[in-house]
């Protein structure tokens, strides 16, 4: 009964929305999240839930695949590092509010110490722990090896290595040229651009949240909701034919999923105007073109008027418009996801004649 409910709640539309809601609440109430009590409670809760889930044979069979173990380690580290960074940030915010320097800037911590032994021993210690961990892991889990390569027989589902599964999951919502080339390219360029866009001088060299709310929230959103979350869906919840399966659902090859996604042009011309699609592709796709260019260019003055004025003044126009472009590119993914879930929208702009589908 509970498992059936979780299977339903795990569908992307629910789990993503729940994730976003929790994400928003966590950043809103950092004064609760950034305490040791909350961290401990979260840890115990997660361990109990995880232990309960692992007891399920179907969930266990997915999670115990040798190549899926790194994701469990990733999740543990992401969980811990996110909470810990917010915790340290909150502690420092309290200190700064009280007029004290951040913990990293106390006179005691500014003091210089010898690299030998302070730094060298720490590194040695971490190296030994890491080596022991790797050796134990290597003894207990054999590296996977399947049948010899056979180009004529494709396994179903065929999955990329786990660290690219977020991109593969994006393929549900975008065509390969977007999900595999353009968006990853924008991610890389955007990451490199961060130091040149974020000109806030505060928060340099110490944990904080309040002094860098916008920077940290948007980075965390991209990292947790659009990268780590999509990896989870792609790995644990996508079965044969890339169909969705709940964590406790058997990967039944015969699960039938209605493929009723339609393009914006079809919605407008056929459903709304009740007539055939125009022959000329630019007439046919004019609504998609308007929507795409409207999103990329038309929104900018509106956003600037409502939220962006102070940013524009502080950052200068070049920085500001590049940042806006990056944020709009990032938000295009969740927007496309919700359009798919709510309206079965396949492509906003569908020009298969040029292989150009958005």
């Amino acid at each position: 009964m509970i498992k059936a409910a979780i299977n339903v709640l795990a569908t992307p539309v629910y789990s993503f929305s729940i994730f976003i809601a929790l994400f928003y609440l966590a950043l809103k109430r950092i004064d609760i999240v950034g305490t040791k009590k909350f961290g401990l409670g979260l840890l115990i809760f997660t361990l109990v839930v995880f232990g309960w889930m692992v007891a399920d044979p179907i969930f266990f069979s997915i999670i115990s695949l040798p190549d899926n173990i790194p994701i469990i380690i990733l999740n543990a580290l992401v969980f811990w590092s996110t909470w810990y960074a917010l915790y340290k940030g909150h502690q420092n915010d309290l200190r700064i509010e009280a007029g004290e320097p951040p913990i990293e800037g106390t006179p005691e911590n500014r003091e210089k110490v010898w690299a030998w032994p302070n730094l060298v021993y720490t590194e040695l210690f971490c190296g030994i722990i890491c080596t022991v961990f790797l050796i134990v892991w290597a003894i207990f889990f054999k590296a996977p090896l399947e049948e010899p390569a056979n180009p004529t027989w494709a396994p179903n589902p065929a999955k990329a290595p786990w660290y690219f599964l977020g991109l593969q999951e994006m393929l549900v919502y975008f065509d390969p040229w977007m999900a595999g080339v353009v968006l990853p390219g924008i991610i890389v360029v955007g990451l490199i651009a961060i130091p040149f866009l974020d000109i806030n001088p505060k928060g340099n060299g110490y944990y904080t949240f309040k002094e860098r709310k916008f920077a940290i929230s948007s980075f965390l959103f991209g990292w947790l909701a659009l990268w780590v979350y999509l990896i989870q869906v792609g790995t644990f919840l996508r079965g044969p034919n890339w169909t969705f399966y709940g964590p406790f659902e058997f990967w039944d090859f015969h699960k039938v999923v209605a493929e009723n996604n339609i393009n914006l042009s079809e919605i407008v011309w056929i459903k709304f105007f009740n007539r055939a699609l125009p022959k000329n592709i630019f007439v046919r796709e004019m609504f998609g073109l308007v929507a795409t260019f409207g999103y990329l260019f038309g929104l900018i003055p509106l956003i600037t008027k409502k939220w962006g004025k102070s940013y524009l003044e502080r950052m200068g126009s070049i920085r500001y418009y590049i940042m806006l472009f990056l944020v709009l590119s990032m938000m295009s993914l969740p927007i496309k996801m919700y359009l798919r879930w709510f309206f079965n929208l396949k492509y906003i702009l569908a020009m298969p004649e040029f292989e150009l589908n958005l």
């Binding site: 580290l77 590092s81 800037g105 110490v113 030998w116 790797l134 590296a143 390569a149 595999g180 150009l356």
Partner: protein, 259 residues
Amino acid sequence: MSEGFAKKVANTQVWKAIFRHGPPNNARNRAAVVAGNVFLHLHPIKLKKSGVQLGYTWCMGGLTFFIFLSLTVTGVLLMFYYRPTAEYAFTDIIGLREHVPLGIMRELHRWGAHLMVITVWIHMFRVFMTGSYKPPREFNWGVGVILLILTMLLSFTGYLLPWDQLAIWAITVGSNMAKATPFLGNGGPGAALAKIGDFVMVSDKNDVRFQLLGGRFVGEAALLRFYILHCVFIPLVVAVLIAVHFWRVRKDGGISAPL
């Protein structure tokens, strides 16, 4: 007695030839041990206390480098046993599994590779959360982003080498993305426009996917390419960039701390 023995060893000509200073228990020798050792001289002699605390750095960058080194060692050992041809690749992996008593070299290499991807991500997360990309460290953040991409490419190219079903289909899925590159991929937007009369300029015989795989599908040519990329080309680039990265950490003022 043991102390006397240690002293005797430390007094031999051999010991003194290797370590040119006394034990690092006073200021002079602590400086000398770091400055005089080619491996340790990556470190500054002295640094701010906040920079050595695990609660600040989580040691994720250091661990990433450490795992890179152990992957180099295990990788070189694996190269002794592995031939990158469609005929031998899979059986060589079987051999590694079946014929080496207590062999965990492939496991160490594979799990280490996964772990390095994770640690490098968490390292980037830590650097972001401490605002360490801010001036004067903007350039080094960029180098770090490139290193992060290269880490994933290293892992990705290595994924093909066992030459099993898991390998070729994961690489097939991954490399199919290259086909969709705008203008440069056979199936990408704009590629169909690159035509002179009947002559198609971007076909499946010359697009970026073909360049990556050395063929139209993941075959023996792709195996050799990925082998070279994985064992020689990307590690060399990574090694150079790691040198730049570490150099700049030092030149930009060491591990970040409040200004």
